[in-house]
């Protein structure tokens, strides 16, 4: 859209909360990590992104987080052209995205309460409200009794719940989960997936990057399969497709 303000608000396509238009990302060496990827994700959808190592899943997440910028093509998230976002506008942009990682990425020397409260402190929520919001979200993820515990005192499943609580406390419109069950046993994996589904039912768009075939096949959600930087299939109520 040359010469026009780069926003998709009011264009009739506002139901698409994430739009990738012919996006490529090349690093200085090797084949491009993403090669002409186009995809639209609607508001309130639950989407699995699957694919083996080197398929471009992680690059996709990094582009959506604006950790990377695309080599070509355009990425729209929440009506914003992510590639053109100025450095100083990135924090505000990220506050609309909840993010959960495989390795939880909790602040190790702070307790559960502080880890979750931190996300509210950075958006300058008054202390009184933080004291009200944190216990509420901790009880949603089933950790009301463990607010004083340090991350190392928790199981992997519990740590991931803390990460989920932190991602959700500012009510983001999109939740990005990068291999959220990668470090968890099957029981904890299912509990986390159930939580993600509940969150999705509350209206949040959920994007899950995963290797977990069992979960993908059981949940009957939209499945986007990537291979060597391109989308090879995109199916509603899809299944995990083997590379070979």
């Amino acid at each position: 859209m040359p010469g026009k303000k780069r926003t998709r608000k009011g264009t009739g396509e506002s139901k698409d909360i994430i739009v990738l238009d012919n996006v490529s990302k090349a690093y200085s060496t090797g084949a491009p990590a993403l090669n002409g990827v186009s995809i639209k994700i609607r508001k309130g959808e639950f989407v699995f992104i699957v694919g083996d190592s080197g398929s471009g899943k992680s690059t996709l997440i990094k582009l959506l987080l604006r950790e990377l910028t695309p080599t070509s093509g355009t990425i729209w998230v929440n009506g914003q052209d992510v590639g053109r976002l100025k450095h100083r506008k990135i924090p505000k942009f990220r506050r609309n995205l909840g993010i959960v990682f495989q390795d939880f990425r909790l602040l190790k020397d702070r307790n559960v309460y502080e880890n979750v409260a931190f996300a509210q402190r950075i958006v300058q929520v008054p202390v009184r409200e933080i004291k009200r919001n944190v216990p509420a979200i901790l009880s949603t993820v089933g950790l009301a009794g463990k607010y004083k515990a340090k991350p190392k005192q928790l199981s992997g499943g519990e740590q991931q719940r803390v990460a989920l609580a932190r991602a959700l406390i500012n009510k983001p419109s999109i939740l990005l989960a990068d291999e959220p069950t990668g470090n968890l046993d099957p029981k904890n994996s299912w509990e986390i997936m159930k939580l993600l589904e509940e969150i999705n039912q509350g209206g949040t768009t959920v994007l899950v990057v995963t290797h977990n075939r069992e979960i993908v096949n059981a949940m009957k959600k939209r499945v986007v399969t990537m291979k060597k930087g391109v989308i090879v299939s995109d199916e509603e109520k899809g299944e995990y497709i083997d590379e070979d």
Binding site: L65, E67, H87, R88, P91, K92, F93, R94, R95, I99, R105, L106, L107, D109, F118, A119, R121, I122, V123, Q124, P126, V127, R166, A167, N170
Partner: protein
Amino acid sequence: MRISTLFYTVKQGFVNIVRNKWFSLASIATISACLFLFGLFYSILMNFQHIVKTAEEGVSVTVFFDEDISEERIREIGDMIQKRVEVREVKYKSAEEVWEEFKEDYLEGYADGFPDNPLEGSENYEIYLNDVSMQSALVTYLESIDGVRQVNQSEITARMLTGVNALIGYVSMGIILILLAVSIFLISNTVTIGISVRKEEINIMKYIGATDFFVRSPFVIEGMLIGLFGSVVPLVSIYYIYTNVVVYINERFQVLSGLLNFLPVETIFSTLLPISVAIGVGIGLLGSIVTVRKHLRV
């Protein structure tokens, strides 16, 4: 910024110090060591300069006049000398005063046999300088004045004092440069250790939408506090050591008390305190800003 955010930022600065206590202690120790050496040399150099300055104040140039000179001309010459920039003080001594001093110093009770003043014509101006290095320029000028018969100067003393002054300048510059290089090296080392501890923490903060300012502020406060603590330790030590050493030298080496006129500790600290605190806080501030900036682009 909300008051609660400001309060949180300052609190986090303190909490960071306690959390990374070994890193904090290493940084405080590094800054303390550098500032201790700095303070030590600064105190010594200040005293050296003070001693040299005191010695310089005693250096004078004496001007004698032609025998037939009028008193009016002597006054004129006095006014001309007083106007020179290098001159701090001009003292007139009449021939009678010179004779009285001579009698007191050398003849004691044996001067009664002199009916007249044998030092007639020895009236003079004693000139004290602002800066001994300007002595030769002044002497050249004095010798060119009409009515001046002779100019006496203590050239060796002046040269030596000028030399000592220059030496002190070079030595202090050299020491400060060495200390600066050492502190930069040590601090860059401790900061590098700190980076690995913080890198993950900064990344997490950035991923969940913290602004650069929000991420940087607690680290900056932490750096300033470390710098402040790092400057307080050597200042207290130097205060204690200085007062005790001065008392010790004055008691044990009373012979030197006329020569070694130490500056009071308050005089040293009136400049050392603000300089040390500024350097300490400055180093801490700079170290933390540079370290965090490196890792903000996530």
